[in-house]
Amino acid sequence: MSSTNASTLRRRTDRFGYVFVAPAAVCFLAFLAIPILYALYVSVRREQVVGLGLGEGGRHQEWAGLRNYAQVLADPEFLGSAGRVLLYGLVLVPVMLGLALLFALLLDSKRARLRRIARITIFLPYAVPAVISSLLWGFLYLPGTSPFHFVADALGGSLPDVLSPQLVLLAIANIGIWGGTGFNMVVLYTSLRSVPGELYEAATLDGCSELQIALRVKVPMILPSLIMTCVFSIIATLQVFAEPMLLRPLTSSISTTWSPLMLIYKDAFTENDIYSASAGSVLVALATFVISFGFLRLVRGQAFAQEER
């Protein structure tokens, strides 16, 4: 008797399990899986025009195979945007994570004062939406409105125009660094706080200086967090969009295809070509997977060997 009851109960809990999973599953299907499948489908279609292409029957949809992919990959604009983003990432990721690590270590050091205020101040830019921060920095960059240029002029000097083609990449990266450092600092700082205090005591007894503790104990201990923030930063880099998109109207140095996502946006919404845009999106998603998993594979040995030891 009791065993039947138990199995009914188990069956019922099993059934309840599906009920609990259902909302997440429905959302996943409706807003992630189906759109991705649809994008894959659209990326192998194209629209062709008949005659002047005006009015009803002016165009029809047809099978395109991998033509859209070949076109995107052969497009010098796409390759150019990929190159720019690579360069952007090489500037952004090391500088942002370097600053985040430095701030986290400083806050964690015994001599830190006003810890809470400093932490919030460094974190605050992350709370400013990228749209707002890009507009703010745009004002600061434009020589005609920038207080920096005003002061430099008043002192008889002059500042370089950071929106010039040579420097504009740094100007965009600066907005990303300004906005992203705080978030990464908090992640690293939290991870530092969970390092057991005995380790520091032992290191101090062994004669380590504060700096040596930071480099030899703290950094290796939070390596997994560093790697995680690094992967997130790489993904964010590949998706850079808001900053160059909003600075673009202010200068002729940023093209409409500056980053891969801007190119996809242009295809989809300016040129109304959702077919190429879908192919481009699939390629960017693939690149994101390959680069982030490749990076994880590359560093896995060091990161997790540390944990296992």
């Binding site: 629209e47 029957g57 093209s255």
Partner: protein, 441 residues
């Protein structure tokens, strides 16, 4: 109801009364079936638009036409509205009956089968209300008409009268004189510029090329022809590229905080812009009210009166609308009737495309140009000089290449680079059409 709705001058029904009447009749089906009133047959049209104050214009129509009621649905301006409309059309629902569409968007919208050929429903007199150059922008494929012009932006020359006087400069009437004036002004005070070449405003360049006689797209038989890199356009590119190369005009984009600052502090002492400029100047450089004057656009040959268009909108009817005839009636009323056009000028502040109907409405100058009483009179005569132009099916593509090609040219700052940019746009525009399957002439 194919004929024009009857007007009842003595007793105008408010929209609310009509709605209440309609609801009452619907509620009591027995009464409605008696056929004493057609209140339950009220046709409702949805109108996507972004023109300021347009609700007041539409309210006037609704009061006069109880059986065809128009509901305004406010949209974001320009490209955003086009994107949204194309998405709605593709989705198969949610599209309105009427849309505000800019001239350069019409061919794209027709090409996507979003707006309808309304030539069969047009009143015979409608075409006569508009200048030929404007009407040619809404008429494609022979006699097919896809929209009714609402407002236009004939290019004209705006300048700071006070700064011109201070430096003893005359108003340029030819482009040669414009160049001379730009040099004189900049050498008198190196911080001053007569204008800027903005690589982010393809519409302005298009208007200047239109003045010189260019039409970037043409229809040859049943095929499109792309003619971006034409002699007139090269002339315009070389002219502005030359001024940028000399450094006598600025090369920063318009509509930036920096440009606003330059308009306010007078370092931008002139602006080649359209008839709608007073609104922009009032909004972006309010402190300079009364200092600006407007003149006819400088000409390539002395004595000509040619100009081009920058911006301006039309009213189009969507393909899916079940009430095409009524929608056309409304669009005609708003854009060609005396009441409609006056309301457009007074409530919405546009420079109407129907200049004949606008004469009375345009008798006083805009507030920002209070010291120039003939402002609208001059604008009207300028508008008569708009040269014919056909927009092709991929204006969006050409404009986006323009941004990048002229962005690069502006950075290089040579006249040769400006001319090269046209070749880039030509190649990109042709490649895009061919890729879409167009057979080009």
């Amino acid at each position: 109801m194919p004929s024009a709705p009857p007007r009842r001058p003595g007793r105008q029904l408010s929209r609310r009364t009509v709605l209440a009447a309609g609801a009452a009749l619907a509620g009591t089906a027995g009464l409605a079936s008696c056929g004493t009133s057609s209140g339950s047959d009220v046709i409702r049209l949805t109108f996507w638009t972004w023109a300021p104050g347009i609700e007041d214009v539409v309210a006037l129509w609704n009061a006069q036409n109880p059986d065809v009621q128009v509901d305004v649905s406010r949209q974001d301006a320009g490209d955003a509205a086009v994107t949204k409309l194309l998405t709605a059309v593709r989705a198969g629902n949610g599209a309105p009956d009427l849309v505000q569409a800019e001239y350069q968007a019409i061919t794209s919208l027709v090409s996507a089968n979003a707006v309808a050929d309304i030539s069969a429903d047009l009143a015979p007199s409608t075409a006569g209300h508009f200048a030929e150059g404007i009407w040619s922008s809404v008429q494609l494929q022979g006699d097919s008409v896809y929209a009714i012009p609402q407002d236009t932006g004939p290019l004209q020359f705006y300048y700071r009268a006070d700064i011109f006087e201070q430096h003893g400069l005359g108003v340029p009437t030819t482009w040669d004189e414009y160049a001379e004036t730009a040099r004189a002004l900049h050498s008198a005070d190196p911080s001053l510029y007569l204008g800027t070449f903005s690589s982010t405003d393809p519409g302005l360049f298009m208007g200047l090329a239109q003045q010189a006689g260019a039409s970037w797209w043409q229809i040859a038989g049943d095929r499109w022809k792309v003619d971006v890199d034409s002699e007139p356009a090269r002339r315009v590119a070389e002219f502005w590229g030359g001024l940028v190369e000399e450094g006598v005009i600025a090369r920063d984009p318009m509509y930036t905080p920096q440009w606003n600052a330059a308009l306010n502090n007078g370092t931008q002492a002139g602006w080649v812009s359209a008839a709608w400029a007073p609104g922009v100047l009032a909004g972006n450089a309010g402190s300079t009210a009364g200092s600006w004057r407007m003149a006819t656009l400088p000409q390539w040959e002395a004595g000509e009166t040619a100009t081009g268009n920058w911006g301006g909108s039309t009213t189009a009817v969507t393909v899916g609308s079940p009430h095409r005839a009524q929608a056309v009636r409304f669009a005609e009323w708003m854009n060609t009737s005396a009441d409609g056009v006056r309301a457009l000028v007074e409530k919405s502040g546009v420079f109407p495309a129907d200049q004949a109907g606008a004469a009375e409405a345009l008798s006083a100058p805009p507030e920002f140009f209070a010291d120039q009483p003939d402002f609208y009179e001059l604008s009207t005569s300028n508008a008569e000089g708009v040269r014919p132009l056909t927009f092709g099916p991929n204006v969006n593509v050409a404009y986006s290449i323009f941004n990048d090609a002229f962005g690069t040219a502006t950075q290089r700052s040579t006249a040769a680079a400006f001319v090269d940019a046209l070749a880039t746009i030509q190649a990109g525009t042709v490649a895009d059409l061919e890729n879409q399957g167009y057979d080009l002439a």
